[in-house]
Symmetry: C2
Subunit: 646 residues, 2 copies
């Protein structure tokens, strides 16, 4: 056993300074997420595979099949092929399937995964190299364009898939294949003489290598992750030199700036979230992992600056970011348009990754609050309730013409949101040697290994619609450890009790830290105040001025035309109107918000008039943002017009 | 003398059914527009020529100079050259210079024009053909790509320049050159056997030919204008066939749709303003001219539908249209974003052209109101007060990063807004055989030829800042005719008197029609109510909801940061706040609007908060939209947040 984790999944013994997630096999999820996971097991996991295979991906991966060549996407005028990152689509689909199989073994699904895994096994080169684009479509060009061609990115997603499949099924085949490739990468790239000094154009491999290290206990994968992080943005620019070696001008590429891929300066000098949003958050997640594993405070400093820049200036209330479709990313501070918001599903998923890894140095509500906000709103909206349709971009306002896709020319989001939801339990807890931090609340069980022994936690709650959380703490024997319960920043009030006795305790960094000798059968109860809240935006966010958003618990609410009629911008919600919460069976069971607002009416068809619109009282209904676009197509609005009085 | 006009400029004897504009030499402009015209005479007319010549245009036109070849625009990554429509830039610059020379003869300026005219004279081919791009850069390819290459468009602008120069100076040289070219076009294009059935890809020649007909009295130019209008959009598509003849797919071009250039169906079947905004309004202006000259009600019907579609669904309050930079044009109904508004200066100028020509069948406030709105707001903003800088796009809201250009890669707007302002007097009056319609009010004189004789009108007014208009009607002898005075749709109240005696008269189509025997020395007085007005937008225009715009007379007002501080969207104007008007000497002399509003303040730097912003009373100041961006750079806002009460 080395100083990282054991080789046996879930049998981790983390150190005190490092909070790591549980592996999927130690978790059982019921409650709010239970039905979503059942849907992924029954539908989405298959859907992803079928759509990948229909797109031709297996033809490219399997060397026993005819080479597909370059497959053009369906849109006639579209000249971009995303084929060079098909491996990543398979990686994320395998990862999703793995979590589904962990929940519910299914021979057919497992056979589908194994077929792809075996194809990758046959495709893998003698030296361990593995990339279906460069082996079959552009042979001889490997490692010539790290900046644009997603070669290391693909490796990362395949590694994540392999780790998940190993944890879920215990099968080592795919893990072994990917370890061989990771070892090959570790030979090609590194600080030594003759090794390339490059790093991923699209970050992802960094965090994947940390996962691989945690699953295998191999320090060398951590070292390689750190190498990529440290090397990024160093001068002279690897990407520029690589471009010149190809005979290209360095600036002559997609968006022409290294900010696009966060390689404009060394990561420790970065202080603004820039460029492509998904790349950014994947990089920061990898940095946070490296900071955790190496206790690297110089990375933590940069991460804190980047975090503030995102959260204080560039984050949608839904937990999405990256407003612009042009670069799929950032523009300028406070640029948060609602109707044209790009807010890619993958970016919000990546923010969940980043935030969860910011918790690696210890529980901190600042990160957990944002993780929860991104998870329950922008991310969760990405997958339809029936598990078959996917949002790519996530506007906060729609005229009724924005709907989930069956698939996408660039199908990055479908398997990404699917793997996140399928593995959602792994974001609930952070575990160190002697502390369990409960970041998120949802019914289910977890088997947690501490230095002191195994602890079985059982959460029982109707969260996020109900604020009462009961936690059974079943240590096999009397154990001393800390159980830290997050009190969300949004909770105006809370009550804590242990075995029925109220406990008065101040939060530390947003967590109630219960340090005691735990007895088998102990019960902790936390009651969180779920009073609906009005949220106002900084005046620098001009589209939100004169507007209010509604939240209850972690959920952002929106109005849909089907509940409220059209012209949602005719509706004004007075600041003093009471917001009522009521349970409803629609949309899989939700709590709706209603209020007595007023609606302006417009006489005639003129474009402009000198008479202010007349007003009538109108009851409005808002639903959770994640559940929108499931009924009759129509307009949607998150930021509602407000007035002090109407 | 034929049935159109005399050959002598300004000596027109129009028929009763046709209202035509005065030629420039019959007008003297003082008042509000006087200083603007002086600035054009002293500065802009020269600036345009110098910038055209600096761009290399004379090198392309003058066959005695070395051929410049294809000159790439300054932006490094920009691959569009606007060089193929350099003739139009010269045409509009000559037209501007002509109006300046009409106001104030200047030898240096006249010599500059003559130099260009002579170059065109030398360039003109034996058969009359004249286009500097096709003669010098792409010889042998003339008339092979009417759709994209602006060949007939260029002809139109040169013709307009020639007509203006002839009226202003009496010199026939340029007019003769352009008549030769127009005659050549009339041989190449037409209904006869062997003639091409094409029409301009970018409309403009249609209205230019009507101007040429009115200046020369030649019916054949009217017939050719009608041919182009009638032919447009007929099946099979000329543009598609022409593309195939070039070996191209018909749809394989800029924007790929014939809607872009309004050639998707015959003009009489069109009922929606689509595509490139400038092309659209130029076409409709030409259609209206043809409808006037041929009394063609089938065109009028189509024009009325197009007009409604624009005015009722797609017009900015500033009189701009075409919200999208992508196609420089229309998108979908009610799509009127403020900050990203394209609202090209040329489009608003073209709308003035179109509206003025909709008055060809008789005075009608519906058209004159919009003409005035487009002129005084979006258009007028296009030229800086010092006559040297130009807006291309005209947003209604800015963060402070939008400023007038010195020049532009595509310099269509600078000479377009300049020629409009320099000839603004020609939009003041519509004249038929026995009626003078006064569409716009501005101090100055006009010499008007009616069937009954010459009438000299003298307007004295501080309009648009003052609503009192005195009109001296000085007929050389007693004459019977109708003097029609427009009562703007925005005037809540007005008073009319003749020779000091109040006259009670109902408006007809927005005009007070005074039919009487006019005596030398008659004086008419019209007092228009200029109380500031609040304007509200149809709820389908979502960005304007919860907002109000301020107008006074024809002027739209906006707030600038220099007067009001930043974060203009923190300001709320209560519906019941009094709006005060006060004269100011700034910005060339304006009337400012002020009101007691309130301003929200935000504590701290958080992006979101649960506390509604606090409010303080704040006096706001608004200036005319046309005058913005002349002082310290900063934010600007037209649609101001409102509340019923604050």
């Amino acid at each position: 056993m080395n100083n990282i984790v054991s080789r046996v999944a879930g049998d981790a013994v983390p150190s005190k300074a490092r909070f790591r997630p549980l592996s999927i096999d130690k978790l059982r999820i019921d409650g709010f997420f239970g039905p979503r996971l059942d849907t992924i097991c029954a539908t989405t996991a298959f859907t992803l595979f079928e759509r990948c295979i229909n797109a031709g991906m297996l033809d490219q991966v399997d060397p026993d099949r005819p080479n597909p060549g370059v497959v053009m996407p369906p849109e006639p005028s579209n000249t971009v092929t995303t084929q060079m990152f098909w491996d990543s689509d398979f990686g994320k689909s395998i990862e999703t399937a793995a979590y589904a199989l962990n929940r519910e073994r299914n021979e057919k699904l497992e056979a589908m995964v194994d077929e792809v895994v075996e194809a990758y096994g046959r495709l893998q080169q003698e030296d361990g190299y593995l990339n279906s684009w460069y082996i079959r479509i552009e042979p001889g060009k490997r490692w010539t364009n790290l900046r644009d061609k997603h070669e290391l990115y693909n490796a990362g997603h395949l590694i994540e898939g392999a780790v998940a499949y190993y944890h879920a099924t215990g099968k080592r085949r795919f893990l072994d294949i990917m370890c061989r490739f990771a070892d090959h990468i570790g030979q090609v790239f590194g600080p030594g003489e003759g090794q390339l000094k490059g790093y991923p154009g699209h970050p992802e491999l960094e965090l994947a290598l940390v996962r691989l290290a945690r699953a295998t206990g191999e320090q060398r994968y951590l070292d390689l992750a750190r190498f990529f992080v440290d090397q990024r943005g160093q001068q002279p620019s690897y990407f520029d030199e690589e471009a010149r070696a190809r005979g290209e001008e360095p600036g002559d590429f997609h968006f022409g700036t290294l900010e696009y891929c966060q390689a404009h300066k060394p990561v420790r000098e970065q202080d603004a979230v820039v460029g492509h949003a998904v790349r950014a958050a994947y990089l920061y997640a990898g940095m946070a992992d490296v900071a955790t594993e190496f206790a690297d405070d110089s990375l933590t400093g940069a991460l804190n600056r980047l975090w503030s820049h995102l959260v204080d200036r560039n984050l949608y209330i839904t937990g999405g970011f990256g407003p612009s479709a042009r670069n799929e990313g950032l523009t300028f501070d406070y640029d948060l348009p609602n109707e044209s918001a790009y807010a890619e599903t993958c970016a919000s998923v990546a923010l969940v990754f980043w935030a969860s890894r910011m918790l690696g140095r210890g529980p901190n509500g600042e990160y957990a609050d944002i993780m929860e906000q991104a998870l329950y709103n922008n991310s969760l909206a990405g997958l339809s309730l029936d598990g078959t349709q996917f949002f790519y971009d996530n506007p906060l306002e729609s005229r009724g013409d924005h709907h989930r896709w069956t698939w996408h020319r660039c199908p990055c989001c479908p398997p990404n949101i699917s793997r996140l939801i399928a593995s959602v339990g792994t974001y609930f807890y952070g575990v160190s040697a002697d502390e369990i931090a409960v970041h998120l609340y949802n019914s289910g069980t977890a088997e947690i290994g501490l230095e002191s022994g195994i602890v079985n936690l059982t959460q029982t709650t109707g969260y996020p619609f109900d604020g009462d959380v009961e936690i059974g703490v079943d240590a096999a024997e009397v154990q001393s450890f800390t159980l830290s319960l997050r009190v969300p920043g949004w909770a105006a009030d809370y009550e804590l009790s242990v075995n029925g006795a109220p406990v008065s305790l101040q939060t530390e960094n947003g967590y109630l830290r219960l340090s005691r000798e735990w007895q088998p059968g102990d019960r902790v109860s936390l009651k969180l105040d779920l009073t609906p809240r009005r949220i106002f935006a900084n005046p620098k966010v001009t589209p939100d001025q004169g507007r209010v958003a509604l939240m209850r618990g972690p959920l952002v609410y929106c109005m849909e035309e089907v509940d409220n009629g059209g012209d949602l911008n005719s509706i004004i919600l007075p600041d003093d109107a009471r917001i009522d919460a009521e349970r409803s069976d629609i949309l899989g069971g939700i709590t709706r918000l209603t209020a007595l607002a007023c609606r302006e009416s417009w006489a005639g068809n003129a474009l402009y008039a000198e008479t202010a619109p007349a007003r009538q009282k109108a009851r409005i209904t808002a639903i959770p943002y994640y559940a929108w676009d499931h009924r009759e197509a129509g307009a949607m609005l998150t930021w509602i017009r407000r007035e002090q009085e109407t």
